[in-house]
Structure formats: structure tokens, C-alpha cells
């Protein structure tokens, strides 16, 4: 650009450069404000209303909230999400870390194995749920195969056992997410300074102590990320349960997400459904917001 450009022209261009990004971003900004935050506000309002099948804007105070907390099914759903979430997070983290440590021993087929373990993450929950539903269905899958092979006494009917069905969901969910957690840990392991491991060897630490005392403590940020990702996946786990058990047998595998769906769309209790949705949002927000806050701040400190 030359210095002789007219001050007027320069001003227009500068102003355009200043405003252009804002102009381009503003439609998506408006859309997100409306469709995400707008509906969050709307749902929150509905949870304080008398809505049944259709929205009803009459203020009802905490009525829907107290009905939610006295609901028997909601109790089951909370218990299930607690069991499911805990088992899911702990199993995925432990298995993912173990697999990552095994893969980190510089074995030959590492590339292929990594892909194999990571692949389930590429499937949608619906596919995973359906596949495992077939596989664990006593009339179709594992049990029938064993019977066909001549092992008549073999029995594995957790899927239709009200006390055990939630664990089949855990198995399927762990199968899907473990590879992803493994990849996270593997990346963390690869980032560790090789000289530090050499120093520990010279210091006389056996391999397991090197992992326990030096490597794993350094993976703390990976643990945090993995747990936050898994926790919010667990709370959002809707499609997997719908595809595998449909919340059944009975209400045995109901979780807050399936509870919310059935109250909103089949039981015509929009108010309770909204209250449960807001509750789930609050739990996820309590997990994610501090995490995002710490993650986004860290590089600057």
C-alpha cells in the first residue's frame, strides 16, 4: 500500500476490515444464542410451569420439581446413572491406561493394534447398542452359539435380568470408549521425556515403579480430560440404552436421559421432563465449566 492513498479510502477499508469478521460471525452467533441458549432458558421456564402434553406458560413454582424428586422411576434412573457412570469411567480409565502402557512397549504391530482399539469410537452408539443387543440376546447371540456348539448348560442372560441388565450396558459402553481413552493416554506417554526414564533406571527403579512414581503422576492432565469426557458421555448416554434395552426390562435400565425422553414424548409430562433435563444440564455444567476454565487458562500461566 502506498502512502498516497486518500485518507477517506483508507478509512473505509480499515473500518471494513474491522467489521467484516463480526459481520460474518454474527448470523451463527445469533443462531446459537437462539437455538441453544434460548431453548435452555425456555426449558428452564417450562420446568416451573404446569405443562403437560403441550407447553403451558402458567407459573407453577416448584411443583414439577417436587414431583420429579418424589418419582420412583427418577430414583431408579439416578441410581442407574450413578452405577453406570462410576463403572464406565473407572473401567475405561483403567483399561485404557493398561492398553496404552502395553502398546507403549514398542511392539511391532502397534499401528494396527491402535487402529483396532480405536475403531469402536467411530461407530455411533446406536450401532454399538444394536450389535451388543444381538450379541448378548440369549435367543440370538452368545448363549445360542454356545448351545449350538454343544455347551447346553451355558447361560448368560444378563440382558433380560432386571438386576444385571445395567451391567450389559456398561460392557458395551466400555467396549466403545476404551480405545479412545487408550489413545489419549498413549499420546500422554509419548510426550514424556525419555531422559527422565533413563535417569530413573540409573536411580535403580524397577519398571513398575517408574510407571507408578514417575510416569503416571505426570499423566494427571490426561486423567482429568479422560474423566470429564467420559462423565459427560455417561450422562448423555441415551442412544446406547435405547438401542440395547430401551430402558428395560421394566424400568431396570432407565437413566435420566431415557426418563426425560419418555416423560416428554410418551407420558405427556413436559414439566417433569423439563425439570429432569435442567437437572442434567446443571450436573454436566458443574463438570465441564470448571474443566474448560482450567484448560483454557492454563497455557497463559
Amino acid at each position: 500500500m502506498s502512502d498516497t492513498a486518500s485518507p477517506h479510502g483508507k478509512g473505509v477499508r480499515e473500518r471494513l476490515q474491522h467489521w467484516l469478521p463480526k459481520l460474518v460471525l454474527s448470523p451463527s452467533c445469533v443462531l446459537i444464542l437462539f437455538f441453544v441458549y434460548g431453548f435452555i432458558a425456555w426449558t428452564s421456564y417450562i420446568s416451573f410451569s404446569d405443562s403437560g402434553m403441550m407447553p403451558d406458560y402458567a407459573w407453577a413454582g416448584l411443583r414439577q420439581w417436587s414431583r420429579l424428586w418424589s418419582s420412583w422411576t427418577w430414583g431408579i434412573a439416578l441410581h442407574n446413572i450413578w452405577v453406570f457412570g462410576l463403572l464406565y469411567i473407572v473401567s475405561c480409565t483403567v483399561l485404557g491406561l493398561l492398553l496404552a502402557i502395553l502398546l507403549d512397549q514398542r511392539i511391532r504391530a502397534e499401528g494396527a493394534l491402535r487402529t483396532i482399539y480405536l475403531y469402536p469410537m467411530a461407530l455411533s452408539f446406536i450401532v454399538t447398542g444394536t450389535a451388543w443387543q444381538w450379541f448378548l440376546n440369549p435367543g440370538l447371540g452368545l448363549e445360542k452359539t454356545m448351545h449350538d456348539l454343544g455347551w447346553e448348560s451355558f447361560s448368560f442372560n444378563w440382558l433380560i435380568d432386571a438386576n444385571m441388565a445395567i451391567y450389559t450396558v456398561v460392557i458395551a459402553a466400555v467396549w466403545q470408549a476404551t480405545g479412545f481413552v487408550m489413545a489419549m493416554f498413549l499420546a500422554g506417554l509419548r510426550g514424556i521425556d525419555g531422559e527422565m526414564i533413563k535417569a530413573a533406571q540409573i536411580d535403580g527403579a524397577p519398571a513398575w515403579k517408574i510407571y507408578a512414581r514417575i510416569i503416571i503422576p505426570q499423566l494427571r492432565p490426561v486423567f482429568l480430560s479422560a474423566i470429564v469426557v467420559l462423565a459427560h458421555l455417561a450422562i448423555k448416554s441415551f442412544d446406547l440404552i435405547v438401542a440395547m434395552t430401551g430402558g428395560g426390562p421394566g424400568n431396570a435400565t432407565a437413566v435420566p436421559a431415557t426418563f426425560m425422553y419418555s416423560y416428554a414424548f410418551s407420558r405427556n409430562e413436559m414439566g417433569i421432563a423439563a425439570a429432569s433435563a435442567v437437572f442434567m444440564l446443571a450436573v454436566i455444567a458443574a463438570l465441564i465449566i470448571p474443566y474448560l476454565y482450567s484448560e483454557l487458562r492454563e497455557p497463559r500461566s
Partner: protein, 384 residues
Amino acid sequence: MSFLHIHHVHKRFGETHVLKGVDIEIEKGDFLVLVGPSGCGKSTLLNMIAGLDSISEGELRLDGQRINELHPSKRDIAMVFQSYALYPSMTVAGNIGFGLEMRKVPRAGRRAAIQRVAELLQIENLLKRKPAQLSGGQRQRVAMGRALVRDPQLFLFDEPLSNLDAKLRVDMRTEIKQLHQRLGTTIVYVTHDQIEAMTLATRIAVMRAGELQQLGTPQSVYDDPNNLFVAGFMGSPSMNLVPARIAEKAGALVALIETEKATLALPIVRDRQALTDWCDKAVMLGLRPEAITDPASANRDGGEIFEADLEVDLVEPTGADLYVVTRLGGTNVNARMRPGSPPQSGTQTRFAFDVSRMVAFDPDSEARIRDRASVGSAPLASSA
């Protein structure tokens, strides 16, 4: 019997032959510095001594005992790494004490040892901090503390100062030297900084491309280099290397050097026997900048001085010294003069050559041409 004996050691990584038969022996209390350009295999050799890399061929002996197959933790050595390799999740005290803890030293003994080392390195006030809260120089001290606390037979240092800024590097260099003198430890130290090598070492091993070029005291490596590579690598500014011809003039052996105006005939006093065979042949002469001076600062007691008038090309003052550049045999030559009254560039001035310090090399094989008697250090059996 030598304390550390590296005997015909080879290292191969698959096809690549990284170390090609290295032989080094040092005594207890020696400070051996391995120098050489990047990629010549210094770290590899150090890792092999530590037991972190296997030995493809050859033998390592420490205090008379073969250690080839010994696990790193059983060799009674400690190592300081270039990246310091501190354990970030432990405090400074935890870092220093980790090796003792792994060796099942009880807590009280550990604490006393940590305290002793912390006092020695003046890091007592840092013991409760994590490595992330330390400066580069402090981390360096902690890394040294971790090595010192175990009181090993042998210390290995892999470029421990290369991550420090220039000033701190000089300070730490002095401290390492003082520690060595005070504790009398045996040290193998890797660097590619030849000033560090000269100042610290009791013995220097110059390496190139996996081969040992010369092993000797710093002074012998500096004054009596085995080949052109060592001559060019050690010293800063580096040795002047000037093409010349050997001739006989009035019954005496001289080296003829072309200059712009005339041919210079420097008398040969060193390696005279060997150079008689080189009569009428081309050689490469090596002269340190401090062996070419103004006549007043020439060393007349020990040396043999030859004076000549030459044209000054360039004058480079550094404060302490004055480097005067002239042209000899078609190359630039640095002379070190007194900074007092610099000659003007473009004028003629008088240069004094200390020919007793002049060395000659075979320009083709790059090997030193020297008398048998004057061999100051074990000659190199070059395989190349």
C-alpha cells in the same frame, strides 16, 4: 590397571555403524571430556557406559570388573542429562533422594544425605519446591545433586550446561571444576564446546564420526594435534592452516609459503626428521594465532622466532587481544597482537612467527607429519 577401560567398543543401530572401535583408558580421579561435532557418537558412548544402550562389540571395564552385562542401577554410576530429566511430580528433595529410596536407604539416612548435598550445592532453600518452580541454573544444580547424593564411582555428564545462558554456563563450569577438585571424583563429560573441554578436562578425547581422533591432556591435544581435524576443531579462533611446500635452502629445511609480494621461507625446527622425506612436496602447515605475533610480544625464551613484513588485510580488536588478518598461501591467517597500537589495514607491518610451534600435515590423508620421538600421546590407528 586403568579405572575405566573402554576397549574396542562398537555400536550398531541396525545397519548404521555409530561407534567404530573406540579405545579409551582413564585413571581414578580423571576428568575425561568427550568432544566432537554433533552426531559423532558422544552421547551413544556415554549411554553405553551408563548401561542405557547395549554394547554391540567390545568390552567395558570399571575398576577392573567387566560391566557390559550389568544393569544401569548396578554399575555404581550416576548421570546428569542435558534436559536435567528431573521428576516433575516430586519435590527437589524427592528428586535427590529417589535413587537412595530405590536402594532402600532408610528415611533418616536419606534426609541426612540430601541435606549434605543441598549444602554442597547451596540449594537448601529449594528442597521443598517442585522442578517447575526452579530456574534453569537451579534445575542444573538439582540434577547434579541427584548424581552426587549416591556417591558413585563414576559420574557421567551429557552436555549439562548447553541449556544455560552464556554467563551462567561459565559460572557452572567453574563450579563443576571446583567440585571435581574437591571431591576427587572420576568424571566422563560430553560436550561439543571445545572451551568447556579445554578448561575442565584432565584428558580430552576428540571424536569424529564414531572414531577416536586423539586422546590426551588438553595441552597435548591443543599443541600437538594428531590430524587436521583435531587441529581445526580445538581452539578458538581456530588454528591457521596454510598450504606450503617443503624445500631445502642452504642446507636447512624450510617451508615455502606464497604471499602476494614474495615467497616466505619459514625455517623448520619441529619434526625435522619426518619432514626431510617431504622435500619438494606440498604440506599443510598449522600455526595457532598466538604463535604469530608482533615482534615485541613474541616468546623468545622457549620459541624460535622468524620475522617477516606482511600486508595487513584487516584488524579485529576484541578488547583483550587484537587479531590481525593477513594473507598467506592464498588463505586468511589470524595473528594475535598486543592491542596497544594497532597497525592500519592496507599497510605493511612486521609479524613474528614462533616456528617452534609450527606443525605440518599431509594434505591428502590429513594425518600429522611428526617425528617418532615427538609422539606425545598414543597414536591413532586410523581405519579409514
